[in-house]
């Protein structure tokens, strides 16, 4: 599904390379966990996959095609990225969840109804949150779960989660980990998650990599 070949990246020409000759292959349904210390470039890797940053060299293929051959909006509706700090628009939970459907690229996708949204909220440990609740008033943990749920609503082929638990307390982090594992086991979602925490999955065995020497190393 995703083939990262020999990529390099630097923020500016005068700065040292963040990645050099990095390769990674991700098959459909795989759960990839990328670990590494803060500042090692884990988040940048995800941003490169969905083109929020541009490669300095090398190529990323998504479903056999170079990612630069897709219209950016098309690519990002198939590869959904959820940022470390969840962002909401200043509106209700429902408006936030339906936000992807207001964009031209998703015009032909039918938005979920209220009952479906309520059911999903329960599955994301947000059963006590009503659809007309202000999204800005949710806790960071609730926003993070809502952000993952929103990203999934447009049915992406690949979900990129950038440090999804770094700003959360233990309880909220456990909920997010549980959601990730369920997505992998029950829905066979293809996931790439970066984290610097000592997360040890309980129900899945992800392929784990660490960022080292400007590249990725497979952990045993």
């Amino acid at each position: 599904m995703l083939d990262i070949r020999n990529i390099s990246f630097t923020y500016e020409e005068s700065m040292p390379l963040v990645f050099e000759r990095l390769d990674l292959t991700v098959a459909e349904g795989e759960f990839i966990l990328v670990k590494g210390p803060s500042g090692s470039g884990k988040s940048t890797l995800l941003r490169l996959i969905c083109r929020l940053n541009q490669l300095t060299g090398g190529t990323i293929f998504f479903q056999g095609s170079d990612i630069t051959s897709f219209a950016p909006a098309m690519l990002r509706s198939s590869i959904s990225y959820v940022a470390q700090i969840p962002q909401m628009i200043d509106s209700s939970v429902e408006e936030n969840l339906l936000l992807p459907f207001s964009f031209a690229i998703n015009a032909e996708k039918s938005p979920p109804g209220k009952d479906e949204l309520r059911e999903m909220l329960k599955n994301f440990y947000l059963g006590d949150v009503t659809l007309d609740h202000s999204a800005m008033k949710l806790s960071t943990g609730q926003k993070q779960r809502l952000a993952i749920m929103r990203a999934l609503l447009q049915k992406p082929r690949l979900l990129l989660l950038d440090e999804p638990t770094s700003a959360l307390d233990q309880e909220s982090a456990s909920m997010v980990f549980s959601i990730m594992e369920r997505l992998s086991v029950e829905q066979r979602k293809t996931l790439i998650t970066v984290t610097h925490s000592n997360y040890k999955p309980e129900t899945v065995r992800p392929l784990t990599y660490t960022v080292a020497n400007r590249s990725l190393q497979r952990c045993s």
């Binding site: 969905c50 929020l52 630069t68 990002r76 940022a83 964009f103 031209a104 690229i105 990203a151």
Partner: protein, 261 residues
């Protein structure tokens, strides 16, 4: 009534009393404006005297190329003033802004002097240069406000823009609010001026015409044309510049290029 009273040099210098009052206020209340007031006064005298001599020369020679040359100098000067106000290093906004300003102001000045007022020839400097000057001066402030707002909001709301991009928005959808706010911020002063004109203030051009002995009923017609011209030219130049510059804030993958300061 039609007699224009000349202001002699001693009378002109007497007006410097106003500056002395401003300097004294700054000195007494430690406003720190003495240097700026002095430079501003010197520039007012030198720039306007220079403009007076240039206009006298242009009106005498009556050359279309000279008129367009002066117009070009005015647009370039406005661009430098905008560049001084908008401290943006990452995005190359100067050339598209300059070209949009030049084309839209030229079109506006031509439309007003050639069609609305109906002067022949269209470049008659007595009308063309003041009309151009008003358009440039007004839109320059609007563009500076809009550009500042656009760059500031794009930086401050980068995470929200990226969230929308990540959910499948194209760059226009992801930055529509910011674009609208930037254009609106630039246009509000021109619209407010239309609300207050004749009630709160008498515009400079109309005052000048009345002082020079023009019938107030003719002066107001000119002023109405000017007010409408300013709103129209500001809207067109702001929208076009913001559309071009907004695109330049995004890269080839529609990623946000602005990094936090």
């Amino acid at each position: 009534m039609n007699q224009i009273i000349n202001i002699s040099t001693p009378q002109l210098l007497l007006a410097l009393l106003f500056i002395l009052v401003a300097q004294a206020s700054s000195f007494i209340f430690h406003l720190g404006l003495n240097r700026d007031i002095t430079i501003g006064t010197l520039r007012t005298f030198s720039q306007l005297f220079l403009m007076g001599y240039v206009l006298t020369f242009i009106l005498k020679t009556s050359s279309p190329w000279l008129t367009l040359g002066v117009f070009m100098v005015m647009v370039v000067s406005a661009m430098f003033i905008i560049k001084g106000r908008v401290k943006e290093k990452q995005i190359a906004y100067i050339i598209p802004t300059f070209l949009t300003m030049f084309i839209s102001y030229l079109a506006t000045a031509l439309f007003v002097s050639g069609l609305v007022i109906g002067i022949t020839p269209w470049w008659e400097p007595r009308y063309f240069i003041p009309a151009g000057g008003m358009v440039i001066g007004n839109s320059m402030s609007a563009l500076a406000i809009s550009l500042e707002r656009l760059f500031r909001d794009m930086r401050q709301q980068k995470e929200v823009i990226e969230m929308k991009l990540s959910l499948g928005a194209n760059y226009r959808e992801a930055s529509n609010d910011i674009f609208r706010n930037a254009v609106t911020a630039g246009m509000i002063p021109s619209i407010n001026a239309m609300m207050g004109v004749g009630l709160v203030f008498i515009p400079g051009m109309m005052s000048g015409q009345i002082l020079a002995g023009t019938d107030p009923l003719i002066a107001i017609r000119y002023q109405i044309v000017v007010m409408l011209m300013l709103v129209g030219s500001t809207a067109v130049s702001s929208v076009v510049v913001m559309l071009i510059v907004r695109r330049r804030c995004f890269g080839s993958g529609e990623e946000v290029l602005l990094s936090p300061r």
